[in-house]
């Protein structure tokens, strides 16, 4: 069943339409990846679902409860880890967790116990009595995540949880997310990194300009880009010229590896080689390959992701 149901969500900030009728659902026990470029409306959607912001239109139900009519009940069921750590920097890690635990009505002893539990679980025992302000980025994110879990929420919202983290911290956070899923927590995770969505999410919803533009598993989305793609890499200086050349014949997109055009069998490869050769362009790398999730995203949104 759906633990989070979002239907026809609309939200404008002045002239800017952040959400234009967005609908999605997260099922019990799954990790739903919400993938989209910067400004797609991911954070606005999360803010509405977690009761921080009110929608202009549309409904949101968490665990069957309407966010608009009973935000207090929704708050007992959710945890949120945003892009910026929501902590008191002048309190220690332990004090932060104990404070939030007491506000969640765990009682003084209960809050202290839960804090100790989470500090151990998140590998923060050594730093437990240091002020949160002295923590590194990765430790802060872990502490923030621990703070989101004090009330054992049914749904955990992670808004770009690994943005700004080094690879090691990112891997440790991924491991924690997987463990939480294994324990049965439903997780809604926004990301602009395809790799992250592919790595963690059971299902992916791709959003752009405040709307859902595709939905499915990573494999489903890859199949959206049928056939193969031809990728071309040339010297950085030549890129604009080559892009223009290729654009005259194909729909070109830019990716991390260079330029990508949809390939209609090996014929496309040959045509690309001939075209570039005719203009005396030296190619660094060229080939045919199966589409990746990146290609699917590019094809869907017309722009590259943050990866």
């Amino acid at each position: 069943m759906s633990v989070v149901e979002v239907e026809g969500l609309r939200k404008s900030f002045g002239e800017v339409e952040a959400l234009r009728g967005l609908s999605l659902a997260a099922h019990e026990g799954e990790i739903l990846g919400v993938l989209g470029p910067n400004g797609a409306g991911k954070t606005t959607m999360i803010s509405i679902v977690t009761t921080l912001v009110r929608a202009d239109e549309g409904t949101v139900r968490v665990d069957g409860i309407d966010v608009r009519t009973d935000p207090a009940a929704v708050r007992t069921r959710i945890g949120l880890t945003g892009q910026f750590a929501a902590l008191d920097d002048n309190l220690t890690a332990r004090e932060n967790l104990t404070l939030f635990g007491r506000l969640l009505k765990l009682g003084r002893a209960g809050a202290r116990e839960r804090a100790a539990e989470l500090l151990a679980e998140f590998d923060l025992l050594d730093a437990a009595d240091r002020r949160a302000g002295t923590f590194s980025g990765g430790m802060r994110r872990r502490l923030d995540l621990a703070a989101s879990l004090i009330g054992r929420p049914r749904v955990l919202f992670l808004d770009e949880p690994t943005t700004g983290l080094d690879p090691r911290s990112r891997n440790s956070l991924w491991a924690i997310v997987r463990r939480l899923r294994a324990e049965g927590t439903t997780i809604v995770l926004t990301t602009q990194y395809l790799a992250e969505a592919e790595e963690l999410a059971d299902r992916i919803v791709v959003i752009d300009h405040g709307e859902v533009i595709a939905e499915g598993t990573a494999d489903d989305l890859k199949h959206r880009v049928t056939g193969a793609v031809c990728h071309v890499r040339v010297d950085e200086e030549l890129m604009p010229r080559v892009e223009e050349l290729l654009s005259s014949r194909w729909q070109v997109s830019r990716s991390a590896e260079g330029l990508v055009v949809p390939a209609d069998g090996s014929g496309t490869l040959v045509e690309v080689v001939r075209l570039l050769d005719a203009h005396d362009i030296l190619v660094e790398d060229l080939g045919l390959r199966r589409p990746t999730l990146d290609d699917a995203f590019l094809a869907l949104t017309g722009q590259a992701t943050g990866s």
Partner: protein, 262 residues
């Protein structure tokens, strides 16, 4: 659907107490903020007593003017300390700490009230420090223990009400800098257009009605009466009315704004 926790009733009092505890803990952790708050009125006391004593009370002694002016500087200390209450509320908002609180099943009164109540302890320290320095310069309590207690309660009451105004402004302000500048000016005008520095009769005619209504005048006059004797009743009533009024109006505005969801 099995383990959904029951909705705990938002318990405003318990939440406020917990967040007051946080405020006190932070204060205990950085005693410098308390000292800094008290330093401003103490410096004023030292500087202005020297320069004003002769003008306000010709023929009077230095101790006479100190006896007269200590309540004012205590009240000014509290007045300007409400700025840091407002700034702290603003800082919580910017730092994202509030986002965490706002995703918890928490009364929207609690974060603001907790901060203001904790800062009342800081205000108490301010009054005590200013009065202590004043006593070294000749300030005396001449009205018994109850008078001393009332002397301390009056400015705290006022500080509580004024803090709600400041917090409401902080939550509505577009920029912290401009709000600070505007409030600073307002507080300074309020401090001078009162019976704190000079007697009512010595103020220019146009300023007298302002000074009569000014809460700082009533705070200071009530404190003087409680310290030295004299009738404090009307002033106490006026201070209480100001405190209740400010809390009701600006407390409502502040809490409503705090609870508002974008």
């Amino acid at each position: 659907m099995s383990t959904a926790p029951a909705t705990p009733r938002a318990s405003a009092w318990a939440d406020t107490a917990i967040l007051t505890g946080r405020g006190l803990l932070l204060m205990a952790r950085s005693p410098a903020t308390v000292t800094m708050t008290a330093a401003f009125p103490v410096i004023l006391l030292l500087l202005l007593s020297v320069s004003f004593a002769e003008i306000v009370m010709p023929g009077g002694s230095y101790a006479d003017y100190v006896n007269y002016s200590v309540p004012l500087f205590a009240a000014m200390g509290i007045t300007f300390a409400t700025l840091s209450t407002a700034n702290a509320v603003h800082a919580d908002r910017i730092a994202g700490f509030d986002d965490r609180l706002r995703t918890l099943p928490l009364s929207p009164v609690a974060p603001l009230a907790g901060r203001i109540i904790a800062d009342t302890a800081r205000n108490l320290a301010t009054v005590a420090i200013v009065t202590g320095v004043g006593m070294a310069l000749g300030f005396r309590f001449e009205n018994g223990l109850l008078g001393i207690v009332a002397y301390f309660v009056v400015p705290l009451l006022y500080g509580f009400g004024l803090a709600w105004l400041m917090v409401a402004v902080a939550l509505h302000a577009a920029s912290a800098e401009s709000a600070n500048a505007a409030l600073n000016a307002l507080l300074l005008v309020l401090s001078f257009l009162s019976t704190g520095f000079v007697r009512l009769a010595d103020l220019p005619g146009w300023a007298q009605p302002i000074a009569s209504a000014n809460p700082i005048s009533h705070v200071v006059d009530a404190m003087r009466a409680f310290a030295h004797g004299g009738s404090a009743g009307d002033h106490l009533l006026a201070v209480a009315a100001w405190a209740v009024g400010l809390t009701a109006v600006f407390g409502t505005l502040a809490v409503r704004r705090y609870a508002r969801r974008g």
